[in-house]
């Protein structure tokens, strides 16, 4: 099971570390690339066209501002493409979100929250888990772990509230 994580600019890497690490945690093979829909459009086309035959089963694309990357990749592959809108220096990520999610009929992009780096990875895992039972199991454990963290925080809160 193999996923590609494509970012429009290397500056997005800070946000995407969590995506890559989460995929690795689940044992998903990850290739991370910097490919710009606008500055290296040939690479973008080529990568997307070859993605399936290269063994990728899902693609995560992260970009900011007029975030065309996920849509451009989705137009050139049949694989599911997850769009991760990156918050840039203006517009608080609204531009990235709308550019990623508002895709026209025929070419969907599975969009997650602005800067939702971990969720992009988890969605990839859920998609791969449709095929790979081992991931299904591991995802459930992960989710149970999240619930435990909430329960632990709930327990800790009690003491802190009494101390108010």
């Amino acid at each position: 099971m193999k996923a590609a994580v494509i970012m429009g600019s290397k500056s997005d890497f800070e946000v995407l570390k969590k995506t890559i690490n989460t995929l690795k945690y689940f044992g998903v093979d990850v290739t991370a690339r910097v490919i710009s829909a606008h500055r290296t459009p040939d690479e973008a086309h080529e990568f997307a066209k070859d993605a399936e035959s290269s063994g990728y089963e899902v693609i995560i694309a992260a970009a900011g501002k007029a975030a065309h990357l996920a849509g451009v990749l989705a137009g050139n592959t049949a694989l599911p493409v997850i769009g991760l809108p990156i918050k840039s220096s203006t517009m608080d990520g609204l531009d990235s979100l709308l550019s990623t999610v508002q895709m026209p009929e025929g070419i969907p992009v599975a969009t997650v929250a602005i800067n939702g780096a971990e969720n992009a990875a988890l969605l990839a895992v859920q998609i791969l888990a449709v095929k790979y039972d081992v991931l299904k199991l591991k995802f459930k454990e992960y989710k149970a772990g999240l619930a435990d963290k909430v329960r632990k925080a709930d327990a800790e809160l009690k003491a802190e509230v009494e101390g108010l």
Copy 2:
């Protein structure tokens, strides 16, 4: 291969017909349900908890306004959940979009465009196609068909422009 299409209100059915018909076109078994995250929360929990053992492999959830349905289902299942924000009578769908896509860490919702009924189905097909090769093939044909329609429109345009 089996998908569930859940809508928060029966009034969303007008939009969702396209979703259901597209899934059927691809030979995906579809169950459509009206389940409200707020008015029938037990059904929502129960449906999501049983979804995997009932044989569903992907869930599409459509809702408007404070659209919690997709997130609530995602919280109760390990299956991938596709969120379809429905435009309601105010706010032009921005409320539905933000309520669906801005999910907190741990529980992603794969969000498509506001009223993107066909894309919700196509994304489900792409996700199922990770496992089912027959869908992969059919999706590529479908996409080729979309390209042909654009090319046909391009050809027709020529005549119309000359007639201006």
Copy 3:
């Protein structure tokens, strides 16, 4: 008289301290909990279903981003639920506000301002005061105190303006 303060994440506690302290100031019994609508949905359902029989008379629910917590609790209890939208790292709280306030017909959430921690508590006090006369009195004193603070600030301003 007893209120519950539920937060979707322990990180919301910084904002909610004011809510809890204000309730305590009015002599309202407060239970504070971390319960996530998405990560611990069973706890959320259970808490809400048992809230009335546990003696709670009003619930305050605080959450950010796709803030479903207040709505999910409201769907599972007949008690009035006050929604407190928390500003998160993107969208300046607009996502939290719309996710909390734009509830569909049948399940209202009494929404206060983004990060309006004190007002969430005061609204709970006003609601409880419908039943408990002692709160009615205390709330009027509190309000008179607010007015006095404004009058004091008004007096201080005079000197400062002369010093300009």
Copy 4:
């Protein structure tokens, strides 16, 4: 048990009929008034100041555009004030929503969805039910009725989907 429904303009009455009828359905005494925070400010002050001694236990205030009515009433009474933002001819109700909900510290307004006429009434009922057990019961029946409607719609959907 007695509620006041105040509207900033008689043109809001079309939306508010549902509010008034819902309150009546629950057996709540309703007084409906047209009082403008800006055009009849004295009436607004006077009404709010006398509301409690007149026997009102909760106030619903509906207004559009720069919707100050709920806030102005809340400033002059200790009773809980429910704000109902009305969608006007521009800005899709966003102006009304923000003007109603973003109240400063000290004076909360319990805000419901834009044009959420029924929910304004239901929230009033929930608030009154803190005191009046009869309403608690009736509200639960009402909610059960809503759930039944969803279940009926769910059943009807099955037939319609088969007919696609």
Copy 5:
């Protein structure tokens, strides 16, 4: 010639210093007050009702969030009221702007830019200048001064650009 500068909270004073100083520069008598539309509504009513007979000829009202102050004052006086929306900690001032400017028919508020402290004063001067010729002259000098500053900046720029 006499103007009142009313702020909803003393924390607005930092922004309003420029307003007060600009009015003083033009020789306009200024009274600055902290009056809250919600926390001291009686003072707000009273001040506005007496403003004309107290000799004020124009009122500047500054407030943030659900900024009702300008509208409330305008509802209680025939004097022109200038609204100055203050940017608060969320929503980037959009809530203050819409709450101030979107006034219903009959009660206008002359709104200036978010945090436009100097412009609020200059607009007051322009309004007073309709009556007082001395202000008309001084305002033209001030405006000429602004133009000179731009021209000076333009001259300085030349050197800096050459140094690039």
Copy 6:
């Protein structure tokens, strides 16, 4: 007493009829002009520069989209300029509002609500009333009339509510 009503496009006249008629009702001399800040910039400059010597005492400028008209006139005259943002076919008037109200330091525009045609006129009347006592009186009568209309609507409502 004399006011100018300038519109950026003749299509704005439908909205501005109310402005003109309200000014006439108050006995203010009105000149209405179509002058475009972009298409007839010389006329705009010239009109603004001559406005004071032509006897105008206040200017109302109405425009839509990138609504520069009010700002451009304000840059060329010392008279107070009232900006009336016109709602156009996209963006619901938000573009017009921000283009009109967000003026830089030094050149204020007294902005009223989107399509607030009557309020633009009333603000002009209030400004002129600083100088002309006859207007002060008439404006108070007008305002009293508005209050009476609200009171009449309030009385009518009673019957209609009983008929529900």
Copy 7:
């Protein structure tokens, strides 16, 4: 002198007729095409890469929703690309505008107003006029014509205002 007008969907043609007719009026050779950045990405790449050698000197690209077309073309050609955001059924064109204008460093798109069909053509003419003097002249005549239309409207207004 030769321009290309590319639309993402044939449904945009209604808006683009004005663009094409305006270009023809100025004697610019126009080729109009339907090419989708997502559904026919190869055609989009190919067209853009060949555009210069095919004799085009400027490209107009119109698209709605997540409007990537202009950006994608700009990424594949050195020619200036004019982006025309089309208003679609949701979000009032804000999604199209932000997707078109917020381009990352290195690949600008010359964006005009939402649905600004005529302005897209006029901007193309202005760009071509840098090279072709004949267009410079014709553009000035056109602009003079616009001014005359405003002046004529101004004259007509006089009569209509008198008739109020």
Copy 8:
């Protein structure tokens, strides 16, 4: 080949350095000016009217808030005007963007991204390149350089990802 870079305020110079340096890199003659549409409107008119005869072939205009500068210049010249919206202290640049891009029919402004300083210069280069072949060549080299930077970042990423 000669371009003008006009800024509404000297404080915009920090952003515009990149614009000026990029133009210089391409060998374009640059004149930079501080001219305010509102504070020095005569200079703005005059500059724009003389721009063509002064040898300018393209104008870049940068301004924030109610950013009228680009539109005002465009109204007074036949040259193509590039609008660069500057982000100011409130509204995250949305006001500047809408004020710049939403121009009425007849007077386009070629708008680039908020604070898109480099892109404003590059668009000017692309426009001049329609006429000057030397720029066409240099622009292609520049674009190739951008692609190389992306490829270099892509190569560096590989090592960093392995180090995670």
